[in-house]
Assembly symmetry: C2
Homo-oligomer: 303 residues x 2
Amino acid sequence: CINWVESSSWDGRKAIVVAGDIAVYGKGPARPTGGAGAVAMLIGPDAPLVFDCGVRASYMTHAYDFYKPDLASEFPYVDGKLSIHCYLSALDNCYNLFCKKMRNVDPNFKGLLSLDGMLFHSPYCKLVQKSLARVCFNDFLNAEEGEREKQFPGLSQFNSYQRENTYFDRDVEKAFMTYSKELFDDKTKPSLYVARNVGNMYTSSLYGGLVSYLVSKSADQLIGKKFALFSYGSGLASTMYSINICNDMSAGSKLEKLINSLHENVEMLNKRVPVAPQMFSDLMQVRTENYHTAPYEPSGSID
Amino acid sequence: CINWVESSSWDGRKAIVVAGDIAVYGKGPARPTGGAGAVAMLIGPDAPLVFDCGVRASYMTHAYDFYKPDLASEFPYVDGKLSIHCYLSALDNCYNLFCKKMRNVDPNFKGLLSLDGMLFHSPYCKLVQKSLARVCFNDFLNAEEGEREKQFPGLSQFNSYQRENTYFDRDVEKAFMTYSKELFDDKTKPSLYVARNVGNMYTSSLYGGLVSYLVSKSADQLIGKKFALFSYGSGLASTMYSINICNDMSAGSKLEKLINSLHENVEMLNKRVPVAPQMFSDLMQVRTENYHTAPYEPSGSID
C-alpha cells in the first residue's frame, strides 16, 4: 500500500489495510495461546507514523511450521521446537539485514541501542521476551570483540558462539534474558498489552503490538521516536522494518487523534465477558465437528 | 510489482510475477472449458512492454459468481447466466472508467478506435467475442447521437437502449457482433490462440492472451502499438489497463528476445499428447474422491 501511494498509480485516495485472523488450535498446550482480532490501518501521505525508506528486510524460506496436511481439519500440526527455531532464525536473518541497511543510511546506527522500541509478532509473550534477548545476542556477535565488554559486561564467555548453534542453548538464553531485562521493560514490554489480553491474533498480532505501544506512553514519550517491527508468518515469511513517530503532538494533530482513538479502542477490552475454559472447549468442539459441513444446520441454542 | 519498482522500496532487483491456476469443474457443460497453465513475467525498468500510468480502471463487487459453498468439493456452483452478467457488467464499468481516465491523458482518445488491440480474460472464447461487441456497444452509447450514424451505420434503432438492460438482449448482441466482426479479427482474435488450445486458465488466462497476441504478429506489426487488457476474477474483481509496445525491435533488443522466447514456448503446445475425454473424466473422478483426503494413498497405476 505504501508503494502504491508512492507510485504513479496513486490517485489521491487513502488505502485501508485490514489485518485479521483467528488462531485456533486442537486440544493441547497451544490452544490457550490462540486469539482472534483485526486491526485496520489507514495509509496515506503526511502520516503521523512514517516508515523508513530502504531499510525493510525480508526473509522467507520453505518450512513445515504450522503445517496443515489434513485439510479436513482447521488445526495445524504444532511442533513447538520447530516453530521456535523457525521464528528465531527468521528474526536473526531479518535483524542482521535490517541493521546492514540501516548502517547504509546512518553509519552510526548501533542496533537496539539506536531504537526506542522493538515490536514483535507474538505467538505468546514469553517468545517475544526471548526474541529481544536474541536481538541483544546478535548485537553482541556483531560488535567488535574488543568493544563487547563495555556494552555486554561479563558475557565474554560467549565470544566464540555461533548464531546457528544457539537457538536452544540455555546458557545463551539465560545470560541474554538477564542482560536484556531492562531493555525489554523499556522497549518491548509496552507493546504486549493486547497480546497478553487477547492471545495470538496471527496477521494482526504485530499491529496489536503497535496499538499497545502507542497507548502505553505519554505524548512526550512518543514524539520523534523510532522503533522497529518484526512481522512473522508461518511457512515462513518474515520482515523487519522501522517506523518514526512524527514530532507534532499538538492538540488536534493527526498523532493526537490517532492516539486518542486507540485509547478508546483498547478501553473496550475491559468490557469483555469472561467465560470458563470449558465453554470455550465445548464451542471449539462444535466448530471441529462442523468444519466444512455443507449444508450446515446450526446446533447451538438460539438464546 | 510495478508500484514496487516505482517506489522508494525498490532496491534494483527485478520482480517475477507468476500467475498460475487450474480450472476444474464438476460434470456438465462447463467441464470442457477448464484448463491449467501458468505464466511467469519479469517486471523491471526499461521494459519492452510499458504500462500506461494513471489510466488503470478497477471494478469490484460482491457476487456469488463461482461460489464454492461446499468446501468438501473443489468445484464451484456454476450459474452461467449470472457469470455472464457479472463479467459483462464488470467490463462495462472498467471500460468506461478506463476511457474516462484515457481522455484525461489524451483528449482525442476514441475508445476502441484508438487501440491497436483489446485482450480479455477468457472463460471461453465465445464470451470474448461477445465482449468486444459489448465494447463497441459502449462506444456507441458514449458517442454523441448526431455522430453515431457515421461510425455505427444502421444501428440508430439502439439509440435509446440502456447498458443495464441489455446484457441478454439478443438484438443488441447480434447487431454489435456483426458490427464488430472485423474489429474482433484484427484486435482480439490474435489473443485467443492459447485460450483456444488450453481452455480457461483463470489467473493466467489474460497473460496467455498477451502471449498469443505477441506471437501472432510480425515485428513491424508490433512496434509502437497500444493495447488494452481486461482482467477478471470471479467474486468479483476486475481491472482494465493498457500496455504500449516499445519501438525498438532491432536484432538483440529486449523486445526481440521476448518475442523469440514466446515463440519457443507456444511451439511446445504442439507437443501435447491428446487423450480421450473419458480418460480426463476418469482422472477427475479419482481427484474428486480423494479431495482433502489425509492421509492419502495413491490408487493409480505407477506406469
